[in-house]
């Protein structure tokens, strides 16, 4: 009996320590090794590479661009104080996707605007991308993919090939599931603060799943933002505060889509 008691005590202690280290975030505040100023500078050079590559046609001064600006402004107001100076641009591309680049740069593709049924859905995706920015997931990913030495060499005037390589990595590879879930949670809070219904995120992902199935490889946004049912479920289960009141964007969405 004493042996059984001792065994339970040993296994229980290990389980308790495991649970404690799992649920108490030990690693969350670990310095990623790149300061805010460095990230901003990195964002600047990467955006220059992005514009120089000429494979991406930026859409400016039309209804879609101004609608995106309106949505972004509302979210930034909801965001409040932030260390980032956001730069959100619209790029012509049929893929239903949006990308986060370093230094608060977010690229939204026209395919996403066309697929969205209303501005709230675009806002939900944008809020999700802002979550990646605020949680510094982009820098985490860059540090994981490229060493700090490589990133510092870029900051001190790195070569164009390397910059292309970094840009390609940022545009093609997704975040980890934990990071996606963190960005989702951030987005839901931000949507509420911005008077946008947080259910828009779930409805956007659900429509994607319904239209394209769960075959992730069919759709780029699912590849980089895996729309698993658990994520839809957590969006749907998000508890909206009682005092919440959604505010309309007052946009003629059909007109916005037509301008693309």
């Amino acid at each position: 009996m004493k042996i059984l008691r001792d065994s339970i005590l040993l296994i229980g202690s290990f389980g308790l320590i495991w649970a404690l280290f799992t649920y108490v975030p030990v690693f969350e505040d670990v310095d990623v090794g790149i300061s805010m100023e460095q990230e901003e500078h990195l964002g600047k050079v990467i955006m220059e590479t992005f514009y120089d590559s000429k494979t991406h046609q930026r859409i400016e001064n039309n209804a879609a661009d101004s609608a995106l600006r309106k949505i972004a402004t509302r979210l930034q107001t909801g965001l409040g104080l932030t260390e980032y100076d956001y730069n959100i641009i619209l790029v012509k591309d049929e893929s239903i996707n949006a990308f986060t680049l370093p230094g608060g740069n977010i690229v939204v593709l026209t395919g996403l605007m066309e697929f969205a049924e209303n501005p709230e859905e675009v806002a939900s995706v944008l809020a999700h991308e802002m979550g990646h920015v605020e949680k510094r997931h982009v820098v985490d990913r860059l540090v994981a993919e490229f060493s700090l030495t490589v990133l510092f060499s870029v900051l001190t005037g790195g070569d164009g090939v390397l910059l292309q390589d970094i840009l390609q990595t940022l545009l093609s590879q997704g975040f980890s599931r934990t990071q996606e879930e963190e960005a989702d949670a951030y987005a839901l809070d931000l949507l509420v603060k911005s008077s946008v219904s947080p259910r828009a995120l779930a409805s956007f992902f659900r429509r994607l799943n319904t239209k394209y199935g769960t075959a992730d490889d069919q759709l780029e946004i699912l590849l980089s933002h895996p729309a698993k049912n658990s994520r839809i479920k957590s969006s749907l289960e998000y508890k909206i505060p009682e005092e919440f009141e959604a505010k309309d964007f007052e946009l003629d969405w059909e007109k916005v889509k037509a301008s693309i």
Partner: protein, 162 residues
């Protein structure tokens, strides 16, 4: 009813016995370091040390048994950690909170194992018993319990022709 041999007192234990008993714990560190990439390797060294030394005395038997047994859980935990790390590294590289929590818990388990082993090694060198949780009790049973073959009188018995 269980019967146990009498426990030897420190003054009855020779220097050689004390050193062999202490060696059981200390040798684990060398084996642990050598076997880190493949944690199960150190178990082989531990088992060899156990079989070489267990006959020397009951005091030595107890300590080497305790050092081998106490090593099993940490070796298993380390093995799982190595497997999980490799699998994640070559998979989606998503080191989850669950994984990080496990890695830290394994680190704590290893540190506890090392700490207790050093303490037990010092105790063994002084000719004292030191009981780990669970493994102390099992090792005491292994080393000091009177076995059935020890109950049969060893002296020869003359019998008439059959």
């Amino acid at each position: 009813m269980k019967e146990y041999h009498e426990l030897p007192q420190p003054e009855d234990i020779s220097i050689e016995e004390r050193e062999d008993a202490m060696g059981g714990y200390l040798m684990m560190f060398a084996a642990l370091a050598a076997g880190l990439p493949l944690p199960m390797l150190n178990m082989i060294a531990a088992v060899i040390y156990y079989y070489v030394n267990k006959k020397k005395s009951k005091f030595v038997h107890f300590h080497v048994a305790q050092s081998v047994l106490s090593q099993i859980p940490t070796s298993l935990l380390n093995g799982v950690l190595v497997f999980w790390t490799i699998r994640t590294f070559f998979g989606d590289r998503n080191f989850t909170d669950n994984f990080k929590g496990y890695a830290l818990a394994v680190l704590v388990a290893n540190l506890a194992y090392i700490g207790f082993s050093i303490y037990a090694a010092v105790k063994a060198r002084k000719g004292e018993m030191y009981y780990f949780l669970l493994f102390g009790r099992i090792s005491y049973n292994i080393a000091f319990r009177v076995r059935d073959d020890e109950r049969i009188p060893k002296k020869a018995i003359n019998l008439p022709p059959k």
